[in-house]
Amino acid sequence: MDLEQLRKIAAEVVAREDVNYLIGWKQGTYGYRVAPVFIEDPADASELIFSPLCTANLATYLTLVEKPPLPRGQEPDTRKVALMVKGCDSRAVAQLLVEKGINREGVVIIGCPCPGMVDHSLLAEKYPETEDLAEIKWDGEGFLLLRDGEEVKLDRYEVLAEKCRLCRYPNPLVSDILLGEEVEPWEPEEDSGVTEIEDKDIEGRWAYWEEQFANCVRCYSCRNVCPLCYCEDCILDRLNPDWINRSVNFSENTAFHIARAFHLAGRCSECGECERVCPANIPLGRLNRKLAREVRDKYGFEPGLDPEAEPFQASYKPDDPEDFIL
């Protein structure tokens, strides 16, 4: 993608009277890091980037926005928020629209067709991160890493993020402005992570998740980063009744993760952020993709494809296969 074009369009969007700010990606503070950035002044649009390191889904900031009490007489700012989205991110936005979590009039969606993102930890494992800022570009089928004055060609599947290996929708499904040309979707891989667990017997699955959930420190980064976890009153924060105890142990951690997974069934847009941010390396994507697979197989429904769709849980189709009901 042409960065000059991106920055020019972004500056124009931010300059619009009806736009408050734009959420995009910028170069981080070191190494391979990329950070979310909020552009309020068109002059700052020059900070924006779009590279294979822009893995983060920024859609969460649409609902994470805080509304502290305003001083008397001050009106809330109702201008639009502009958001840069990849294909997977756009599914989260579409699902938010379906659920009326956001208003269509309240957002300007800038679509970025995405040839695939790099898994930061895979990359750092193979090419250790240094303090110096590194750049990565798409290069034919693979990637080109530029750091310390040298160029390293990377094979696509050496560092491609798991969510991108499985990706079926690299192009934004909902957008107001599309940056550059749409990309040709690639053949998604079979989701071996989910299949691996499906293939275990009940005891094997339990043992697998027991080991994973025992490591959870309950930092809630998975919940907070999730664009579709936006309940104002989350059961995790409830003290009376305390549906899930504050005690950190396998039992309570499991209750937390199962509750979250079920709340996301038929809603999860498979952006993989929960797994990316987990400091305990819990493969949460597998859990959410398992439920997505169930919903797809049993109801023929995929969330986030159509912003006009009826929410999955709120719809009824007389011709549902229902082959799982005895």
């Binding site: 909020f38 502290p68 420190v217 980064s221 907070n224 980063v225 105890n245 950190v248 400091p279």
Partner: protein, 337 residues
């Protein structure tokens, strides 16, 4: 006491001498390296940079049962904290963190749970030979072989560990295992010095903290807080993985008629941390909470205990999902002063 050498081949025997004590050491659990009590015969993994979750949980568990009781009765059952513990392989930064946090748990009210555990714990450090990308411990007064908070410092010299006792607890440990230890020569000390110098060279990040503690209160309404917190998700990663963060919450939990009062780590980055019963929240936004995190470490704690509550371990930088970087924040603070 002079420095001693422990041949690595004698490790199993060495640990055998310490029978009856719980040995915490880094070991791989699943795919994750963490500090855990060693099972019989398990060999710790000392070839590591640092664990993601700090070893503070050995003395300050994430969830601690203060007492148990049956609903409807008045009898309380208190846990016995008589276990002797040795934490092997703790990095000097994490040991310094414990020394810093000790101040708090000894302050106005003495915390029996924490202090009892600390009293019964021997901290055996491991000199850092390969500091991580975001380590900046020298900026906070630490270093790859800093000894603050440690009872004994081990240094990996290839075939053996150099063992330097630093306190009475450390000397006791050496005395208990003296049959297995050899006296270290001057070359061992020299090798250690070279190793430490090499390690220091690998530390790239730094911050000059001069003026920050005094200057922070004056930056209360500064725009920098808005900028550095804009992308904050409000999760607890930075605080839960911080070796000096020590805030906790206390809850009563029940299962049927079984009840317990327990305390668990809490995080100032959570909205409910300061939520009042009235519904009013004095730190209503992530901006205020981020400001508090920095102020607590670099200003309030300094006022109270004359030490910065950060050891430069770099965990919060490594693991922040959105690249909120404390060194970068501190640089902005310095510029704003």
């Amino acid at each position: 006491m002079s420095a001693m050498l422990l041949n690595k081949e004698k490790w199993a025997e060495f640990v055998g001498k310490l029978a009856g004590k719980t040995i915490w050491a880094p070991r791989t659990d699943g795919e994750e390296l963490r500090f855990l009590p060693l099972e019989n015969g398990e060999v710790p993994e000392f070839d590591y940079n640092n664990t993601r979750v700090p070893p503070k949980q050995a003395v300050f568990p994430q969830t601690e049962t203060m007492f148990r009781f049956q609903l409807g009765t008045e009898e309380l059952e208190q846990p016995q904290l008589e276990e002797e513990m040795i934490v092997f392989g703790i990095r000097p930064c994490d040991a310094r963190a414990m020394a810093i946090v000790d101040n708090l748990f000894k302050w106005d009210v003495e915390d029996p749970y924490y202090l009892k555990r600390r009293e019964k714990t021997t901290l055996v450090g491991l000199t850092c030979s390969d500091p991580g990308l975001n380590c900046f411990c020298p900026s906070l007064g630490g270093g790859p072989a800093s000894t603050e908070g440690l009872d004994l410092l081990m240094t990996d010299l290839g075939d053996s560990y150099l063992m330097e006792a630093l306190t009475e607890k450390g000397e006791t440990l050496v005395a208990e295992t003296k049959d297995l230890l050899d006296k270290a020569g001057t070359d061992a000390q020299k090798n250690k010095d070279t190793l430490v110098k090499e390690a220091e060279k690998k530390i790239n990040r730094s911050i000059d903290t001069a003026g920050i503690p005094e200057g922070l209160p004056g930056l209360w309404d500064h725009l920098l807080w808005r900028n550095v917190s804009a992308s904050c998700l409000g999760c607890g990663t930075c605080t839960y993985l911080c070796p000096t963060c020590h805030c906790f919450d206390i809850q009563d939990e029940t299962e049927g008629f079984e009840a317990r009062r327990c305390r668990m780590w809490d995080s100032c980055m959570f909205a409910e941390y300061t939520m009042h019963a009235s519904g009013h929240n004095p730190r209503a936004t992530r901006q205020e909470r981020t400001r508090n995190r920095i102020n607590h470490k670099y200003s309030y704690y300094v006022d109270k205990f004359d030490t910065i509550a950060c050891v430069g371990c770099g965990r919060c930088i490594n693991l922040c999902p959105v690249n909120i970087d404390i060194v970068d924040i501190l640089k902005q603070v310095k510029e704003a002063l």
